[in-house]
Amino acid sequence: MLVKEAIPQQINDKAGRRLDGSEIRIAASSDLSIDGKLTETWLLATDKRLVVIGCNGQGPDVLHDYDLSAIKQVTCDSQIGNGFLDAVVDGQTVTLLRYSSAQMRKFGAVAKQLDALSKGDEPKPDPEALPKRCPKCNFPLEQDSTVCANCTRKHQVIIRLLQYAKPHWKTGLFVLLLILGDYVLRLLPPYLQKVLVDDIIIPRKSDLLLPVVITLASAGLLAMFSSMIHGRLGAWMGSRITHTIRMALCEHLEKLSVSYFDKRQTGAVMARVNQDTAELQRFLADDIYFFIGNCFYLIGILAMMLHLNWKLGLVALIPAPISAFMTLKVMRGLRRVWRRFWHRRSRFGAVLNDSLSGVRTVKAFAQEEREAARLTAKSGDLMVAAAEAEATWALLVPSFLFVMGSGAFFIWYFGGLQVIDDEIKLGTLMAVLMYSAMLAQPLTIVIRLSDWLGRVLAAAERVFEIMDTPIEQPDEKKAVRMPDIRGHIEFKDVTFGYQPHNPVLHNITLDVQPGEMIGLVGHSGAGKSTTINLICRFYTVQEGELLIDGVNIKDIHIGDLRSQIGIVPQEPYLFAGTIAENIAYSKADADIEDIIRASKAANAHDFIVNFPDGYETQVGERGQGLSGGEKQRIAIARAILHDPKILIMDEATSSVDTETEKQIQEALSRLVKNRTTFAIAHRLSTLRNADRLLVLDHGKIAEMGTHDELLEKKGVYYKLVETQRELAQMKVVDG
């Protein structure tokens, strides 16, 4: 399908005459006018004509009207936040329309299709061109997402949460019963005290005293045990449920594509996993029982008061509306100041982290004082926020408590009158007083329910949002299994951009035979790493095809593919653990001799055994620091052990001493044998060894051939080598 959106009647009417009724092939709306106002502009094209219609205030207005044959070359001019669709009409560049970033993808496709139409070719359809919207509510969907944030409604989140709780329903029910018992028992004391006062102490019936006191004590004891048990069980159950959710989340995170992490800061993703699951944990393991219990409690207290004396019961409720109102207001106010405090605290933390992590740079530039000043400033902000929070707290809480407790005054007065008039007994008055004092806690908690639930649901929603993000290969079962890849790699007219509207590789065509070694050469930013990213299928080819042994890489089982690709990155990442574990990272079942053999082949064995802890030396985050050359050789050993069919190598640019260099080269030459190898090459020795060099320039293939052929050609490669040679000579002179 070509880009064709539903055309409003008005626009259709306006265009109708100009297009004399032929079939409209392309219809695309932009959200901007040429001068950057947020109004619609429409582009309509038939096989013959093109019109652009703007909607400026007084209805539609034809801005451009051309015969397609007059148009040569339609292009997109991407700028910051917006772009322009330009065309060359009768030798002049004309800007057809302007659009915001949201529509870059769409007009990228429109440009191509218009270009084809104007040449009289059949344009290629692009199903991804139109921004996707939720079929139900028309809410725009994210690029590669199929779930609509708008449509996953709150109750669905609750249902999903409950589903995680389902396996524990028996425990849950038990906990619920215990809570019920706990709070019913807590209702007992005031009532028993009334009995004590009215029926035992005042009438002086000593024989009943002990049994009632024992009942009172056992009620307290029972409540205590029940509270302990449901607390324990609840915490266990909540933690289990959270664990299940966290496991599912982590598992999903690992399966997400590299591009997911490109768009987001790792820190933000980590915060989600940590904080949001902690929020769920707190809720499921603790808050929810507290809340349910307090609901029972509230109902029970009200029932008891009304039962004892309905008049007094109602009197006790006089301040309730005020305290409910205050709870809402006070809590909101308090939350605001505390939020500000937390926000500043995390900012202070960020600055502290930044400044301590960069301690070498700080010291090297003698900026300790400035860093200290920066921290002092943030700490000052924090102090202000903390003081404010505490001050608000100090102000609000006592007044709040006063209002909450003011029910007692009314009870004393009206109840007192009733006692004096002999309408009720003293014990009843005291019991009602005690119940009214107990009212404050459940009342505040029930009132804050909606806030509370909102926070938990938001956390749950964020967690589910990650879980709903499509993974790299959702249809693993349909994928082509390729347990034994030969290593024949073919690029067929591949065009790729990290943002689809902004290609960084253009029309790459390349055929690499199994076992061949290709050196990738080019300026920084030329697209070398991007080429490699495509072979590893970190990103998906958008146009053209990338075939491995004749199978489109999109269809190959990702596990099969990756297990046969080995990577020696420019800056190898070592995980926390021993050297041996790091070498065996891709092959956890490797035996010791395999590891040693691989290290030997990587020329790493000798320096490893020189460490006091040998292969058991701790590396990674808290471990021993390794030099660049050492890390590289460990990465090579890792790759040798992995024994990949396809080898990807990103040569380090940093220079190492000649001896290390020689060792690395030797190791590499052992590694590349009989494997299809792509190497981003900087070193002359690697360049010479490559069967073919692929010279990239601005995402296009500039030259291809062997080192000698390309030198002879005196093209881009020749210049690159010359520059490098000059640089090398400079070093010699400097050195």
Binding site: G36, K37, L38, I80, G81, T95, S101, A102, P140
Partner: protein
């Protein structure tokens, strides 16, 4: 003392010169070039008669100095930098402003008419300097960004970016409200 020895100030001067030479920043002053429109595109001609058929203007400090230190470019190459647009004649100013306007599209939210939280994100009904717009954001914490200078931006679900006018009280309030929820 050796005659050829330079004082530390002179040395500093020498070092600066060497750095300038290496950096090759070419500042263009009024009279150093002319700009004009021809066949629907803007062109720029230098005194040595070199004409750039299609040139563009980039801001180097788009946030804090929108009309200063502007880089005039032809494709990937810098033709030169101008220090302050207001030093130039009206015609030049107009053309360069037009180019800058084309390049940068960040509508400024003047006023927030209404805001509500919806399913983890926000729906904001706003008045921008480019017209009215309903901004829909996905999640709160991924849509709001603040820079060190206190400028505040909001990114909507489709990837468009808007700057929020923090001088407007109601807008600032909404931002604070969002921040408190992050």
């Amino acid at each position: 003392m050796d005659e050829s020895m330079l004082s530390s100030q002179e040395l500093a001067e020498e070092r600066r010169k060497a750095a300038d030479e290496a950096a090759h920043v070419r500042y263009l002053n009024p009279g150093d070039f002319i700009v004009f429109e021809q066949d629907g595109v803007f062109r720029l001609t230098l005194p040595d008669d070199r004409t750039y058929l299609k040139f563009s203007a980039y801001r180097t400090f788009p946030l804090s100095m929108p009309e200063k230190y502007i880089s005039l470019r032809s494709d990937m190459d810098e033709i030169g930098m101008i220090r302050d647009l207001s030093d130039f004649d009206k015609g030049t100013q107009q053309i360069i402003r037009e180019l800058l306007n084309r390049r940068y599209f960040v509508p400024r939210v003047l006023k927030i008419n209404g805001a509500k939280e919806r399913y983890g994100g926000m729906v904001l009904d706003v008045e921008t300097d480019r017209g009215r717009k309903l901004i829909i954001t996905k999640s709160l914490h991924e849509s709001l960004s603040e820079n060190a200078a206190g400028r505040c931006f909001i990114t909507d679900v489709e990837g468009n970016r808007y700057e929020i006018n923090m001088d407007d009280e109601s807008s600032a309030e909404v931002v604070t409200w969002i921040q408190q929820r992050i």
